[in-house]
Symmetry: C2
Subunit: 448 residues, 2 copies
């Protein structure tokens, strides 16, 4: 395995080495390593190295580049070379690249592809990015139930080059209806004269192409699959999703959740320019400005109280800070719980009540600490009591809102993580300040 | 595939059905589905169904239960039955369960296991949970380079039952030194008389057992592997990590990051009692209390200014809210960037400068909006100017601290996500209030 310390020498040899050593390196290094070394090098250098590879290896290395770099590289080759490259690429990587090509490149290269590749691109590009269909590939092996084991193994052998996985073969009937699957392991262990229909497993886990792509990853994880068959509305097999794509989906979804919860977006990793980051984050900050004005307005209603007892202004950050933190805790647990499928439909109310309970008890504990500190700090028992009561209310509200917002977004079929932290901070700030300052106003006669 | 609507009927048939239909269901349903139906049912019912299965299927279904439920179920069987179950379970699931058994169960069942299983448990249980060694399994096929392809296929066929994956076989030399690997695909396509040593791939991606388990998942994702070999300090093969375990690791690590960033822990999903949640969250809230007191102290230094111009207290939540939000955005981008390996060693300074720039520009935009609103809202140009300046300072600090804290934690070999949100809110609150109220004090003469 290539260790990072050698990366520099390897890059140097690959980019500037003699023809022979370059060819040797291209032949012996794994595709992912070659792609890593070549990423973000000047296009001429990259094509120089890629041209020293066999076509299938070139396509595999190319497929490891991120899409932006792939598109950028295609600007430096003519349409015939591009057509050759697209033809050899794996079906799912091909359609991803094709979708991102500029319109004129699409139009000029499409007629140069063979009919099979053209139809494949049409079929695979018809699904939205969030659907299972968008991550599937059309490279899998199919068998029919009437084949003997010997014939099936022969067919597998013939179809091997270029198939993403051959460890599962799918058994189809009329109109490509999915009937079952058979593993290579089973085929090799079976009697040569047995029929595929007899040894296949008919209880097959599948997904529909329009289902969410997270569901595909969930099924692959749950059933420990190497590949998951994808069917259309008519139960016909249209593709498979492989275990490595499931890994990518899980990683991407986790990133998306985490960044959306923090009010920005996973797009941050696609384009790292400062202006892009601002474009993604600024609208949320502006929204936050509006919600912060609500808090501001709440506090401004109590100017008389504060002007009489300015120490209240100094205690406000404690109320806001703990409410925000408790809300974020609840939010993270709920958002992740939804993503992991741990909150069943209809159990939302129970989750909200549970979080309110946690908020109540944490509020009593933390509120007591802060109450005691306030009591001894200011020698005013009433301040301690106000802090305790405000803290309890605030943490209960943090528990209620922190769990209710993502659950409500989920019910509305929106992303449960979407900007939730802003709404929760707004809710805890407004309610925390209101309770704290209302109590202070009521108890004002006793404060002096 | 089983759809949720049938779950109720299926559970009923499984738990209360006649012997024959129960056996049929046990034989035909996938293991994951059976485990899902049986989870959290009373132990007697679960064992009633499990006993209707073949031993290998019983062990597989049992392995799908979560560990708490597994341990709970073992309390209802005697030590001989437990030993039988452990013997048939897959090696990685066996050691996970064994580690969680009460000490007396461990002591009584250990002598009943065969020598091979005892040594296996000893070997696999010697790694910490965060290490690659803790997720590996000892069930893989090894070959030696001198075997012919025919002999190799024969050996694979013999070793098949009970091996987690047979699609890759590992080639070892003296002292189990890892020499290379060969895929089943390659073996089947090769000339029967060729030697394993000639057709094996010597450029093999591997991991050391003491490396972090995230790294194993990274390698499996990067090289699209079905399994990754694990070696010890002496480069000897000690296990493999399979693609489905990598998927679990990625999911767990993402959960851990998200919850730690929000100041709680992934443990929240292991034990869902309210008291456990409080135990995990309350210490962080108490820490937050201490940091909030810093903000409180900062504000209290400016009591004179606030008492003269109470509207400042009403504007404080805007400063704190936006600083906190911008800090969370930076934090999420940085923590996830580190987790995805997108921030190379030594590039930390560049990331921090970039985030400060984003903060500066966002500060100018949002600060201008808030300045204009404040100007028209209060008809005091100075308030608008103070808000603009404070906002710019605060968002620059949010960018600096939001990226510097996780990077520093990473350098200290701690989890970059650990409670970061508390420290960042503290930093933005203290600095935001300080700048805002200092400016207000300086400009006080012009405010009236």
């Amino acid at each position: 395995m290539t260790t990072p310390e050698y990366a520099h020498e390897l890059r140097n040899l690959l980019l500037n080495g003699e023809g022979e050593i370059r060819r040797d390196l291209c032949a012996s290094l794994p595709e992912a390593t070659l792609a890593e070394i070549l990423t973000d090098q000047p296009p001429q250098s990259v094509w120089g190295v890629l041209s020293a590879m066999q076509p299938w290896k070139r396509a595999a290395v190319f497929g490891y580049f991120n899409l932006d770099f792939q598109v950028y590289l295609t600007e430096n080759i003519d349409k015939d070379e591009l057509a050759d490259l697209l033809t050899v690429m794996s079906a799912d990587e091909r359609v991803d690249l094709f979708k991102r090509l500029p319109d004129e490149a699409k139009e000029s290269v499409f007629p140069l592809l063979a009919k099979a590749e053209r139809e494949d691109i049409r079929k695979l590009s018809s699904y939205e990015e969030s659907m299972a269909g968008s991550v599937m590939t059309s490279e899998y092996v199919t068998l029919t139930p009437d084949l003997s084991v010997t014939e099936a193994l022969e067919k597998l052998r013939r179809q091997w080059p270029g198939k993403e996985t051959i460890y599962y073969a799918y058994v189809i009937g009329d109109d490509r209806r999915l009937l079952g699957f058979v593993s290579l392991r089973k085929l090799i262990l079976a009697r040569p004269t047995a029929h595929v229909g007899d040894i296949m497993k008919a209880e097959v886990v599948y997904i529909r192409a329009v289902d969410p792509r997270e569901k595909a990853a969930e099924l692959i994880a749950k059933y420990d699959l190497i590949a998951l068959p994808v069917v259309n509305g008519g139960a016909a097999l249209v593709g498979i999703i492989t275990h490595d794509d499931a890994l990518d989906v899980v990683t991407e979804e986790a990133t998306e959740d985490m960044l959306r919860m923090a009010s920005t977006d996973a797009e941050e990793y696609e384009n790292t320019s400062i202006l892009q980051s601002i474009r993604l984050r600024c609208p949320w900050l502006t929204l936050n400005l509006c919600t912060a004005m609500l808090s501001s307005f709440t506090v401004s209603r109590f100017q008389d109280t504060i002007s009489q007892y300015v120490i209240l202004a100094a205690l406000m950050p404690v109320i806001a800070g703990l409410g925000g933190n408790a809300g974020t805790q609840t939010l993270a647990v709920t958002v992740r719980g939804i993503a992991l499928g741990m909150i069943p439909v209809g159990k939302g109310r129970k989750v909200i009540m549970r979080e309110a309970c946690v908020g109540l008890l944490n509020g009593v504990i933390v509120g007591s600490i802060v109450g005691i500190i306030a009591y001894f700090g200011f020698h005013k028992p009433w301040i301690g009591l106000i802090m305790l009561l405000a803290m309890v209310c605030n943490l209960v509200i943090a528990g209620l809102i922190g769990s209710a917002i993502p659950l409500a977004l989920k019910m509305l079929k929106l992303d449960p993580a979407l900007g939730s932290s802003i709404f929760i901070t707004a809710a805890t700030d407004v309610s925390g300040f209101f309770v704290f300052l209302s109590l202070a106003t009521l108890m004002m006669p006793f404060l002096h």
